[in-house]
Structures are given as structure tokens and as C-alpha cells.
């Protein structure tokens, strides 16, 4: 039977905490940018302008058809050159920058689908009402439709955020030291991979489970 030896974890806790912060940084950035960009995509997709809606639909479908692993690798390839041309050499860890951009753009595609459904769940009459009051289409969206839509889809957006939190572990493929990457490296360094992987799995489970229970609570409150 395997003999467990958990002794390398206490000493590695500060490192692991640092990794967890990176995980949260990627998650939060992707949520914020993803929702803003996703909203724009959703509105564009519902636009009556054929070209605009086609462009938005292509973006969403492309990102939704490609594995996240490929998207992360793509951006790790492209981003260094892109960033250099924009910011010169004043950039920090390229892996972090690539991951932030990749996750934001990738999540936007998923968020835009949720948001589009949310917008469509608002009765069409409301748009008509807004327009009848003399508001422009943009004003109607911003003041009438979107506030209601977001209320309806908050639970779905949060559920997606929990999935995203778990997906950030895939930055492993570009060697970024997020929580999982750090756990793996510590396990590799100390020859204690088994313990570190179990530990990482447990932490991810606790955080995701707690978060999804919260979402469920919220959901039942919204669904009065």
C-alpha cells in the first residue's frame, strides 16, 4: 500500500496561497471582462444589422467550438508579439498576460450566449414600450431590457463563474503557476505528487462546492 507523507504541504502553504491568488486573478478578470465583452457580443448578435450580427455570431461559434486548451496555446503564441507592439517591453509575466486575455475572450463567448438568452427572456413588448417612450434602441437596452435580463440570468452567470474557476487550472499547459500549477511543481520537486494532487483536488472541491451551494441559495431567492 502507498505510504502517505503530507509533510511537504505545510511548508509549501505560502507558495500555494500565492498560486491561489493567481487563480482568483485570472477568474475575476475573465468574469468582469467576459461579461462586459459578452454583453456587447450578445447585443451585437441580436442587432438588425446583418453584418454586425454575423460577425458576433462567428466570434461566439468559433470560440465555442475550439477546446480551451487550444485557445490558451493560441494566445500564448500570439500575445507576446501583440503585446510588444502595443506596450513595448513594459510587460510583466507574459504567461499571466496571455492567460488573462485568453480566458477573457474565451469566456465572453460563453457569457454572451447566456446573456443573449437573458435578453430574449424579456418580453418583446418592453422594447416596444421603451421605443414608444421615445428612447433610442441603445437606451431601451441599457435602461429597460438589460437590468431585467441580468436579474433573470444572475444564477446562470454565477454557475458559469464556478466552471470558469475550475477551468483556470488549464493554464498548466503554458506553465503558469496558478494554484494547480504550484501544487504540481511542489509535488514534483519533493517527489510527493500524489499528496499534492489530492490536496489540490480537495481545495478545488471545497471552494467550488461552497460557491455552487451559494448560487443555489441565490437561485431559490430569485425564483420567488
Amino acid at each position: 500500500m502507498y505510504e502517505f507523507d503530507w509533510s511537504s504541504i505545510p511548508g509549501a502553504l505560502p507558495l500555494l496561497a500565492k498560486g491561489l491568488m493567481v487563480t482568483f486573478e485570472v477568474t475575476l478578470t475573465a468574469i468582469v471582462v467576459g461579461i462586459v465583452w459578452g454583453t456587447l457580443l450578445a447585443v451585437a448578435r441580436l442587432s438588425s444589422n446583418k453584418l454586425v450580427s454575423f460577425a458576433a455570431a462567428s466570434y461566439v461559434n468559433l470560440f465555442r467550438s475550439v477546446p480551451l486548451v487550444m485557445v490558451i496555446l493560441w494566445f500564448y503564441l500570439i500575445v507576446p508579439q501583440l503585446l510588444r507592439s502595443v506596450f513595448g517591453d513594459a510587460l510583466g509575466d507574459i504567461r499571466l498576460a496571455s492567460a488573462l486575455i485568453a480566458f477573457s475572450l474565451f469566456e465572453a463567448a460563453y457569457y454572451s450566449e447566456i446573456i443573449r438568452a437573458g435578453i430574449q427572456s424579456v418580453a418583446r413588448g418592453q422594447i416596444a414600450a421603451g421605443l414608444a417612450l421615445g428612447m433610442t434602441y441603445a437606451q431601451t437596452m441599457r435602461l429597460v431590457v438589460l437590468p431585467q435580463a441580468f436579474r433573470n440570468m444572475t444564477p446562470l452567470l454565477l454557475t458559469q463563474a464556478v466552471i470558469l474557476f475550475q477551468d483556470t487550472s488549464l493554464v498548466y499547459v503554458i506553465g503558469l503557476s496558478d494554484f494547480f500549477g504550484t501544487a504540481y511543481k511542489v509535488g514534483d520537486r519533493d517527489g510527493r505528487l500524489v499528496e499534492l494532487l489530492l490536496f489540490a483536488g480537495a481545495i478545488y472541491f471545497i471552494i467550488s462546492f461552497a460557491a455552487s451551494q451559494l448560487v443555489k441559495r441565490l437561485e431559490s431567492r430569485y425564483a420567488r
Binding site: 507558495l15 510583466g92 507574459i94 506553465g175 511543481k185 514534483d188 520537486r189
Partner: protein, 294 residues
Amino acid sequence: MKKTLLAASIGLAVLSAPVLAEGTLDKIKASGSITLGHRESSIPFSYYNDQQQVIGYSQEVMLKVVEAIKAELKLAAVQTKLMPVTSANRITLVQNGTVDIECGSTTNNTERQRQVAFSNSIFVIGTKLLAKKTSGLKDFPDLAGKNVVTTAGTTSERLLRKMNEDKKMAMNIISAKDHGEAFLTLESGRAVAFMMDDALLYGEIAKARKPADWQVMGTAQSQEAYGCMMRKDDPAFKKVVDGAIAKLQTSGEAEKIYNKWFMNPIPPKGLNLNMPISAELKALFAAPNDKAFD
């Protein structure tokens, strides 16, 4: 094979135009910073100690090179940014300008010279095997039909695949992402042997749970020279790097660094690799050069 090489060389010659128009020295001067590529688990060349700092033989050489660059550019300080690379992505990262120089455990060979430039060599190794003392293995022919691990993107991987093909050995070759993962594959019993550069194999023994169980063995399949990688077609930068390395080697300082890493206890477990300096490396230190061995 010759035809392939010819075709490959024509192909590569066409596409290996430099990504950056400006020289690396200008870039360093303008930004006041340099990005160094290092490895994460190439013991004892370039790896993390338990404070996650990069240490090792090649890392020390690279820092000496940075000193020389600073002096050359007459800069008071140069900010160094560290970028970990893997065997599989190091060439791409040098080419696309993510890292300016990489000193780790990269073999200088003619194939790679079409994609990147190499400095004066910093080390000489032979590619051998690591296996359990009790495994009963002695040399490469004993590996027929067995699981053998190596690291993806290394010269060993290619040699091993070619040997498997040419001698119909029916080995199952596992390509691990990094030396650490390769050794894990070996230690956990997934492979019976690990083919890699001998110095790195000694390094892996240093972090094994039971170092006494392991042995480096076999006939060296190739002699290889390690160099620092830089972007191609940047003679000004190469000249500074080469000069710094040559000075290190002829002044006897390189041998001191060698002794520190190969003849003394090193992190992470304070093990002594006890690998006396080879005749080939002595010859290199006496007459620094950037020749590949193939």
C-alpha cells in the same frame, strides 16, 4: 535522410527571417531590461530551489553574461526578467522575442542553428540512461520491448525514436513534458529507463527519494555541447555573450562554478553529484568555441 535534411534546410532558411528588426543590445539599452529564459527542473543547470529561486550552473553563467552586457552598454543597472521555458517551447520563445537569451541545458546542433543562434559552448555531455541498479539493464540494446521515457523536444527524444526505428527495438517511448516529469515516470515504475544527458541524469538522482537506488549507465549515444540560445542574425549581441563566456572559461572562473555545482552538495537535498570534470569540458574551457558536435 540527406534529401529530407536538404529539403528541411531550404524550408527553414526561407522562414527563419528574424522577428525583430532591431538588435537585442539596442532593445536592452532602450528598455533597461533583459528577459532570461531558464529551466524549471534541469538539475544542476537551471532549476528552482525551495524558495522558488532559479539556481544552477547555467543560471550562474547567464548572470555573468548579463554583467558583461551591463558593462558593454555602460548601464548602471539592468532589470532581469525571468521566464521559465520547457524543452518543447524554448526555441519558439527565443524566436518570437519572448526571451532574449536562454542558458539552461540546450544542445547546440546544426539543425537548431537554422532556427536560433548559439553562444560559445558552456558544457559538454553524453546522452546515456538512468535506471534502477536492480533493473538488470546495462546498455541500450537491453531496452528492446520496454517502456522508456525521455523529455519531449530534446535531442535524446530524436535519437531514441531513430534508434527504435532503425534497430526495430519495439520500445514504447514516453515523451514527458520536462525532466522532472520524466524522472517521475521512471521513479513511479512507468518506465524502466530514462534517456537523457548524463549530467542531467546525475541531477535527477540528486532529488530522488532513494538516491542510492539509481545508476547512470550505457554507451553515450552522442556527445553534445550546451550553449546559450539567442535570436539569429544578431552578431553584436552574440559577440558580447561569447566574449563573456570565453573570459569566464579561460580565467578559471568557469571551473570554479563547475566545482560548486558538480563536486559539492547542492539543493534541494544537499546531495553531491560527484561528477569530476570531463576531458571534453576541460578542452572546451581551454579553447572556448561555439562549435556543435554533430
